[in-house]
């Protein structure tokens, strides 16, 4: 059966890389600037809301390593608004390649327009650096931006999570979904 493509109400095309900073993000930050910084809390995951203008096929996950890599594992995932995982990246991926994006080539999957999704980023430790914006006001920022966090995920992202806590981390990392298989 041929694939049915669903148009979104806006008619807009999605960005080729979807991040907490792209037009698909429901997080509006507009403060802080980007820089390299250590992940703040061991085994913490952050969840950033997005909504897509069209049906898309996601080819890869990625994150942007900062100036220190090769010490902790990272994992990207996508959840629905109820906390059910739609796709999880590889949980044992060691950060590799300082100051450059790192890709996790997951099996292609689809996301649909005008639905609320959450992109998630998890890190196993606090030595690895990622590139992130640094909004002032921990706690207040997470609540205002609609970002959740889940702590103590010692094995990485799980198939279901409970969105019970707004993020108290004054950090917005650069990571997300790539709509290109390469490069």
């Amino acid at each position: 059966m041929s694939e049915i493509i669903l148009p979104g109400r806006s008619g807009r095309k999605a960005s080729v890389f979807i991040t907490p900073f792209s037009a698909e993000s429901l997080v509006k930050i507009n403060i802080g600037g980007t820089a390299s910084a250590a992940w703040t809390t061991t085994n913490l995951a952050m969840f950033h809301p997005i909504s897509l203008p069209e049906q898309v096929t996601v080819n890869r996950f990625f994150w942007c390593n900062g100036t220190t890599a090769s010490t902790n594992n990272l994992q990207v995932g996508v959840y629905d608004s109820a906390g059910n995982a739609i796709k999880l990246g590889t949980s044992s991926t060691l950060a590799s390649g300082a100051s450059q994006p790192q890709f996790d080539n997951v099996a292609d999957f689809m996301l649909y327009p005008d639905k609320l999704y959450y992109m998630a980023l998890w890190c196993s430790g606090t030595t690895t650096h990622v590139v992130r914006a640094n909004p002032a006001g921990a706690g207040r920022y997470g609540r205002e931006a609609g970002i959740y966090q889940v702590a103590s995920l010692s094995g990485g992202l799980t198939s279901t999570v409970t969105f019970a806590a707004a993020s108290t981390v004054a950090t917005c990392p650069l990571y997300g979904l790539a709509l290109r298989a390469s490069p």
Binding site: S10, G11, R12, K13, A14, S15, V16, F17, T19, P20, F21, S22, A23, S25, V27, K28, I29, N30, I31, G32, G33, T34, A35, S36, F62, W63, C64, N65, G66, T67, G97, S99, Q100, P101, V131, A133, C172, L174, Y175, G176, A178, L179, R180, P183
Partner: protein
């Protein structure tokens, strides 16, 4: 939704580059050395409604030199239109060219820019290292000067971050 009169790499609605700069609060651009002779930088944009390109422009830095070419590619790497080789113009000024008009259907595209001089500077943003590749910016170095058709061995941009200010317009009045 109507398309704006100009689609620019600094436009948050149409460019991941613009949205990164705006949402991270780092909108200032400065004169930035071009990463190398015959280096092409591909900057992603989104076109929402049919758009006819009648003007292609960019902003020079403090030491414009050599020749510049700016064009548009589709996601498959096919060049849709180009300014053609153009001598770098006035210091720190927006430079305009009027290519043969070409029309873009709604979709994802890349604004591509290249230069044949290592001393050329462009008005650009240099975000935190790694950021450009993380928003879909690509690069290649060509054997001879000019925008290839199709593009060649493109790679994720991982060094010499150069988020150049360049744009397309649907009018010759810019």
């Amino acid at each position: 939704m109507a398309e704006p009169h100009i689609v620019s790499t600094t436009d948050a609605a149409n460019s991941p580059v613009g949205s990164l700069l705006q949402e991270s609060g780092t909108t200032a651009t400065t004169s930035t050395s071009w990463p190398g002779a015959k280096v092409v930088v591909y900057l992603p944009i989104v076109i929402r409604t049919q758009f006819t390109v009648r003007t292609i422009g960019w902003q020079n830095g403090t030491t414009p030199s050599g020749n510049i070419e700016v064009g548009v590619y589709d996601e498959s790497g096919t060049r849709k239109g180009t300014s053609g080789s153009t001598a770098a113009g006035t210091t720190a000024a927006i430079q305009l060219t009027t290519p043969s008009a070409f029309t873009l259907a709604p979709g994802r595209y890349y604004l591509a820019m290249t230069c044949d001089a290592t001393t050329y500077t462009v008005n650009a943003q240099a975000p935190a290292a790694g950021s450009s590749g993380s928003i879909g910016v690509m690069t290649e170095t060509t054997g001879s000067f000019g925008l290839p058709n199709p593009w060649g061995s493109v790679a994720v941009l991982t060094a010499s971050e150069t988020l150049a200010r360049c744009f397309i317009a649907d009018s010759t009045v810019v």
